[in-house]
Homo-oligomer: 531 residues x 2
Amino acid sequence: MKRSVEIYDTTLRDGSQGEGINFSVHDKLRIAERLDAFGVHYIEGGWPGSNPKDIEFFAQARRRRWRNARLAAFGSTRRKGIPVDRDEQVRLLLEAETPVVTIYGKTSLLHVREVLRCKPEENLAMIRETVRYLKDHGRTVIYDAEHCIDGYKLDPDYAMATLKAAAEAGADLVVICDTNGGSLMREVAEVTALAVRTLPCPVGIHTHDDIGLGVANALAAVEAGAVHVQGTINGYGERTGNCNLTSVIPCLTFKMGLKTVPRRSLRKLKELSQFVDEIANLRPNPRQPWVGSAAFAHKGGTHVNAVQKITASYEHIDPALVGNSRTVLVSDLAGRSNILMKARELGFRLHPDMPEVKEILRLVKEREHQGYEYEAAPASLALLIRGVLEHNPELLFTVETYHVSMRRDAQESICEATVKVRVGDQVHHTVAEGDGPVNALDGALRAALVRSFPELRKVRLTDYKVRILDSAAGTAAKTRVLIESTDGHEEWGTVGVSENIVEASLQALADSLEYALLRKNRLRRRHAKGS
Amino acid sequence: MKRSVEIYDTTLRDGSQGEGINFSVHDKLRIAERLDAFGVHYIEGGWPGSNPKDIEFFAQARRRRWRNARLAAFGSTRRKGIPVDRDEQVRLLLEAETPVVTIYGKTSLLHVREVLRCKPEENLAMIRETVRYLKDHGRTVIYDAEHCIDGYKLDPDYAMATLKAAAEAGADLVVICDTNGGSLMREVAEVTALAVRTLPCPVGIHTHDDIGLGVANALAAVEAGAVHVQGTINGYGERTGNCNLTSVIPCLTFKMGLKTVPRRSLRKLKELSQFVDEIANLRPNPRQPWVGSAAFAHKGGTHVNAVQKITASYEHIDPALVGNSRTVLVSDLAGRSNILMKARELGFRLHPDMPEVKEILRLVKEREHQGYEYEAAPASLALLIRGVLEHNPELLFTVETYHVSMRRDAQESICEATVKVRVGDQVHHTVAEGDGPVNALDGALRAALVRSFPELRKVRLTDYKVRILDSAAGTAAKTRVLIESTDGHEEWGTVGVSENIVEASLQALADSLEYALLRKNRLRRRHAKGS
């Protein structure tokens, strides 16, 4: 049987320490659900003792079912000088009601003396008592040995004494942390091997990428016997980030032949990476190992030629295994199969040879060049495909004119929108106020449409995202709006692009409502039979 | 004496294969001059056989003086079936008139058979004859063994025979290349160690970052005896890029204690990295190890507190050694120490015990709870700090009213903004059109202010970012706008938050212009003395 390595995700805790990352409770829940579906073994949701948002996260997470992952709350050993059952931060850890609690403690004498400012023995007692207390309350306890490599270099005996204190108090796992991320592979391997030899419990690894070795150090630890790897999606984290799970998982699986998450999940690795970037509102890094858009792109003439001869010649692995794809080389073909797959997902049946497929592909490329993105907007893609298949069918409604006005003076601030919408022979002219221009326009548009389509009352927006494309152009840059809508049963995403945020929002709103109307009764049925 | 490792830069050749990178001859010369001053040992300028731009580069490079680096022209072994002195590509290598010529040849039987489509013996002859020919013409010859690790795994005897062919024909150095970037550290170390043991010449290493181990694999090879490392600045290169010299050089120097480039050069490492990004027109990666703007950024309150106690506690090295500096991010995780450090960076002098510090902290937390984010908006933070220190000073200008209107009908789409701005006793009432509401408002506000403050003409926006907070609230969600501005010398960031994107943008725009006016003449001077 293959050796297994557990994956412990801390995107929501250590990852959120990264510059420019600010997850809402809702964001965190959405990411946690994806991680659970992906198959990581642990999800560290936050540090309830550090902020109210994390307390709220665990309160909401308790009410959900988790299929694969076990939730972990993060915290520290008790404070010096008080009994563990009086420590507020420890109490909050229990109140998070997670099956797993992860606490960090000091390994380095430097930190014990200069940061904690307590006696070395007191630190050992803090570790021992906190671990035991959490175990007594029925938790699986993971002990993160902070600054473990640096602490070991400074005073190996004391460092090992802290690890033993945790293990002997009942910790289920002791994790070697290279907190400052400045260690070399052989240093990490040495300390890990020693811990594996001497501790009564399994050993894990937690690394950072400060000198560019976050992933390499985790792999070195696994070679030395670690059976648990902590990291974050896309390597988010303080400073240069944590060990990147989107690299370390495929390295462990495909290069070292170990068992991590299910193989079929790995085919969604790129999708997961993009999803998390999207939620964090970060631009995906095209050069990211394994999952970046350029990771299997071939530019050099020789390479492309060789790749055509034998794909293995300039690729270390089949890109599909991590949900990525080769680019450059007949991107036409790759694109076509993508479109066919998407169309099938959306309920259309297309054959590769239909002339419409080529037209759809051309349109998608043209619009993506303009800034549209269909990855997160399948409903807009469905409307585009339908448009080609039915040769520009009549729309169910048309926004003929609109006017949005905002006025602020000393007394008040008013935002008002009017729309004139045509539905067949009827014209609805409506007005609404809102918090901002888009909100007002949304109100006016719905007010107009429910007159003809009362079923739209059930439809509401669940997500609204704006991204500025080519942001260096200042306020004249293009804006991409992504909208998620729901009718209580199903969710769908739409997209709009324009220099004008109001116009881009209107496109995405109109697509969303059009899709809601077409969806069940017409769109699918017609084409499922049709072609 | 310390062991030395040679640094071979291929930014201009392999780096230029990266997606989105397109250097002109002039760009290449500027980068080469910087690399020379920095102290790399070799600069690979291009492949004269592959394009006329590279021929031109060498023609111009010949006329310059190189102080530290030796220039290398890159090419391949002769083609199959012709004598080496008839090979056009080899002739162009000599005509580049560089002291060093680097050629690559096939190591892997797979490539010999499927890509070259020649006999294994013919490939050995191609290697031998090309090396000898270039040696006979007085060149230092570096032999790059393409696909060396993969080739070794496939057929170790043949792979080693190719390396020996090169070395015995007189190559000055044989370089182990992990061309597809898919190898693990121990695989690279094994092949390198064998080459070091068996070849009569020194051994180098050339790695790629496809699985996230570009730097780690180069270090593993050096540990196994390699004395020469090939890579690119910022890790540019095909797919996910080459071994990143901005990581590998400081790792070798500071972590492994080896001699590479002069220590004083390393203090300009960040500058070099930024310079090359600028020439390539790429946005610097804030999370880049060693040299990224976030590489020594501290966000968590505990960390910041500890960093102040002892800088070594959460930093693996003094950032000044690589020309970087510590930054402190102000966020809802932050404590008082963050604020004090940040205020100092911004030119204020605060003492921890001043009652204003508590008030500033309270305000920051309150506003971050509302959705403001100061880590990317230090200019807005400076205005906030000033506001507290001066007990709500009078603003230089006030936007008394504004009106924004957008109208679209069948004929046209118009977006217009008016503002009424008070500056002392004067009131300016202006109007402007724009691509969207924010663009129009920006135009009107500037038109108003330049009447009183002509110096604002120089100020322009360089970046405009929008983030929807708690996006699940639909179009009524809060909007955070981050703006970057410049006057051509300095850059500064400001922030605005509101349910209304126009209002949020106006706040950030107003902060930006207020800061531009206060900055030099008032803000700093006053408080540098004042408190």
